[in-house]
Symmetry: D2
Subunit: 346 residues, 4 copies
């Protein structure tokens, strides 16, 4: 292919934008032609991200300055809410991977309920595809607009959707406790995200009402073919990257821990980015900087109690890595293109 | 009182020993007369703990060098297993607060099952009292031997025992996910506890089989008056001190989140070391270095789902602080003596 | 004394204010009658600092709401620049410990040069006393206005002023590299102070031009009785509290490392808050949460090379602890009142 | 090239070994044929390093089990002292990059003095080449045995050797303060390297006598053509990876900060792994996981005072990355092969 696919990152000055820039270095097919960052417009990338110095990247511009007529791919890393109208205004030939939450909920009522305002692009919403690659590959491949999932849902749905579909767990029994690295909160200056406020301590937040519950319930409801409410408690831990979800569920009548492990192992055999451990449990260290999800399956002490541990890097498989995996898929490239990464450990 | 209570710390060279030394500084009634640390015997305390320089403390000795004939109080900070015979050999007049796990399980069969060997001091075990102060004050006050509870059980039983006793939750439904600071692993040199192995990541461990489950089940079974199995998953997070437990349970028929909050608030009104929040959720920062347990009560999205967040400092209320609280109680002193601490924040 | 000294903290919602609140708990002589925090006025302290819940402290008010007619002591924790006019407006009977940089430089020209604007209270400046307690006790005791020193200068001047005064080092040769915990940057929301920007890395800043150089040069010039320029490079390290200064100097002709150690040991014998080690070197862990400065003296490999390591907690001896030490002194109390703290370690 | 260069890593179970494994993934020319780790022999790599699961690597063996007859390249990651005899026993056709300190000092007397015992392979020592690639490329290219430099020397010599050679600084005036990530201490279980001992604090160590001083003095002495003693103070900071050196020196008569910056900029123009900043100062974040050294040049306030800040990743440019760079060079490959890495930030 002599001509590369011209690619734009909207909102490149945030952490998911920076991570896309890392992953797109020397990509054989995607060529970055514009980077937007409205508040940083005019600055070179290395003024915002010194670790990207010398990478021959275009300077940041306002999104209104971009000519999309020859653009083929847009990664949208804008904050939720602002995204809908910008995406709605893109020419029809542009394919989009949206990393915000704006197109993840297919029901406009659910969107309004969880996000507090009416959806601004309801027509477009209808054509969006939910983008956990391994679970939705056939729909993502031909899609124009992929709603890249949240980090928490990625870590939880990868193990649980196959189990719910296979009837191996009681679908109404799912309870997830997740630990997230701080980078999930983005790069905005907020007092509660200062080093001094987070170092040396942990906390739970969004208890019983985190917005990612909506997309998890939507996907689990579809998998179970019955209305599912999830129990979910996110926590902030003082690490920059990484997410660990500890998921409890009740085994279905007749199901066993071994059957669950076997089902997940079979389901993900051959998947380059999902590993089901035969024994032991994963730590987030082993996926840091990579597009991997590693999970393990355990018995609890309560009757029919199942425990699953699932780890990802929230900025990679939980955001920009999966976005690139989806884009690779949408353009007919091997999904693993530029994503065969080894964790940086220690 | 002109004469102070002569006090010995066995195993003073570990973290719980060091924390007791901090808390006993200028104690009006307890006077440290000996510190043992078999592998460090002969060294001054500040060779082991430079932060205790200049505190006028006795040098470390072997425990066989201590003359217990005039000793009135022993804090035992030895590793589990080694403790039983040493405590069994103490003169009858000595009161003991044991911070190990050795006397927490009243059933010798349960001990053998969880700890892998027969109990060495079964007769003594019969007289041990489980030492969560707020839940067992009347038994602790006259006791000779108090089994100081584990850190995880303290953070979980403080909220859950009153709720089980009051019939406000389904006692078989309790599921706890806990995050622990690394100091809980002690001061022994182990590869997996190196800075480089823990910094920047999180992990679960002891999944479905952590030894603290045994004492939690023992106490919950007593409170429920029925056999209870607990779901419990501990995690290591890269902080030195602090513990946060996220506890899920099903509300009993007719119970409500508000009723649970009210019951806990009433139960702990007047307790100097337990706080039930009216709103919001606690972080471990706010109890760091203190003997406080702070908890909050929340509704989940599943039917009758209750979520409780409970935080302590694992080395204080989870170990040495509660040990001192118990000792104060055993000697008729105000429980708060030397424990009115303000968290060091930031 | 039946009546306590009525005390106000201006700017109580920042970290130095919070630290003063911690240190003033149960102070036998100082009673907090008002706390100001203009942007947080109206809120209870525990809304801003949950770790201070239940401490019976007054709610935050605007500083204009405080009636100073019966106030005897003011701790001023306001940002520099805003402080001068507020302090100038206080009634003459009020004694003041100012933790800002506003009154540290006695020469209005130096102030204007380093801070970029003319001093607003030049008359008052004349009566300010520089407040490193151990070095200036006789002037601080009767002072009305004490300029509490910066954290870097405290860690560097405590060892170096006595050596310069005694002629043991070449005064023009002093070069200090300091590592600071992040709390020194305060509690304002700034992108560069986010957890994600600081975790896992280190940096130097203010290279060759940090404002604390001005007060160090002022004090060293006075000690040397000749114009001194200092070499100083501050660094940010990912810890919340703590400061370590590594100071290099050339020994004066005929001086030795042993003579330097002996001189410092003699100078600080009997000082409750300064320790000169006989061997080894200190870490910041051993002073965390305390008002201690611990220093050590070493030989380098270059001819007549002296190396001194000095550690403090930047929020205690480097700010609020020394402020309380000064206030104790100004009101005729033992300097150690409420400052006999043991480090929280681990 | 149809046949790859067969490569062995001795001591692959430590951190520099693991880092080599990361960097050698998919290397176009080097093929790993054996990994040794005497205490871990028999285990698969992922038992020691879970983040390397699924990488198709040979299991660990004892070094005596390796047949070196067809081996072309050995990376030696053994602890110093053990290395000399093992390397001396390798067949003559094997090229070696030794990451230990064993062959860095060319003078056996200096070795004995700094390391406390006589060198065991003095003949071999004569043929070893000191391996800072950018400074010694012509000698490294044809060498059989390259002594890969220490991390501290790499960060300090890269800026200082060219300045000393050019006569731009007074060579006897060099004073370096360095901050090191903890991974530099290796993976052995030591109490002082526990998370709990290091988290939240900083310390200096090896003051005036760190072994890396020997190799720095050797190289600076050669550059200056006069005997040089260096002032050097290393510090441990609670980060896993990264090194920052703050270097002070006196400008030579007639030299200026601008001349120094220009000289370094010219010297390293075209070097893929060394960057001289035009303004600002680097942080270790921007080189984490990469083979970069980034430096900046500043004026101090003292007469003719020069300050240089230099950052590397201690495990990459400070160890395994430079080792691979040297190996690439020794085998006629582009130095950048498998080393064009982007920092993982945040």
């Amino acid at each position: 292919m002599s001509k590369k696919i011209s690619t734009v990152i909207l909102g490149a000055s945030g952490y998911t934008g920076a991570e896309l820039l890392r992953l797109l270095q020397n990509h054989p097919a995607f060529e970055i032609v514009a980077l937007t960052g409205d508040s940083q417009a005019g600055k070179p990338v290395d003024a915002v991200y010194p670790h990207l110095r010398g990478r021959n990247l275009p300077a940041l511009v306002k999104h209104t300055e971009v000519d999309f007529s020859n653009v083929q791919l847009v990664f949208c890393c804008l904050p939720h809410g602002t995204t809908q109208q910008i995406i709605a205004a893109l020419p029809a030939h542009v394919k989009i991977v949206d990393l915000s939450a704006d197109f993840r909920l297919f029901d406009p009522k659910a969107y309004a309920e969880w996000y507090g305002h009416a959806h601004q692009a309801v027509e477009l919403q209808k054509n969006a595809v939910y983008g956990i690659t391994e679970l939705n590959r056939h729909a993502i491949q031909p899609a124009r607009l992929v709603a890249n999932p949240g980090c928490y849902p990625t870590s939880i749905l990868l193990p649980m959707v196959p189990l719910v579909e296979a009837g191996l767990v009681v679908p109404t029994s799912i309870s997830a406790n997740s630990l997230s690295g701080i980078s999930g909160a983005g790069r905005s200056a907020k007092q509660e995200m200062l080093f001094t406020e987070l170092d040396g301590g942990v906390s739970a937040y969004g208890i019983g009402k985190h917005r990612h519950m909506a997309e998890m319930e939507q996907q689990l409801t579809a998998a179970a073919n019955q209305e599912i409410a999830i129990s979910f408690t996110p926590h902030l831990v003082p690490i920059t990257r990484g997410m660990l979800s500890t998921i409890h569920a009740t085994l279905a009548e007749g199901s066993t821990v071994e059957a669950v492990r076997a089902a997940l192992t079979t389901r993900y055999a051959g998947e380059p980015f999902v590993t089901v451990l035969a024994d032991g449990a994963p730590t987030t260290h082993q996926v840091r900087g990579t597009n991997q999800c590693v999970m393990s399956v355990h018995a609890g002490r309560q009757p029919r109690e199942l425990i699953i541990i699932s780890v990802i890097d929230n900025l990679v498989k939980g955001a920009s890595g999966q976005a690139l995996q989806n884009a690779n898929l949408m353009f007919g490239l091997p999904e693993t293109t530029n994503l065969e990464l080894t964790a940086v450990f220690p």
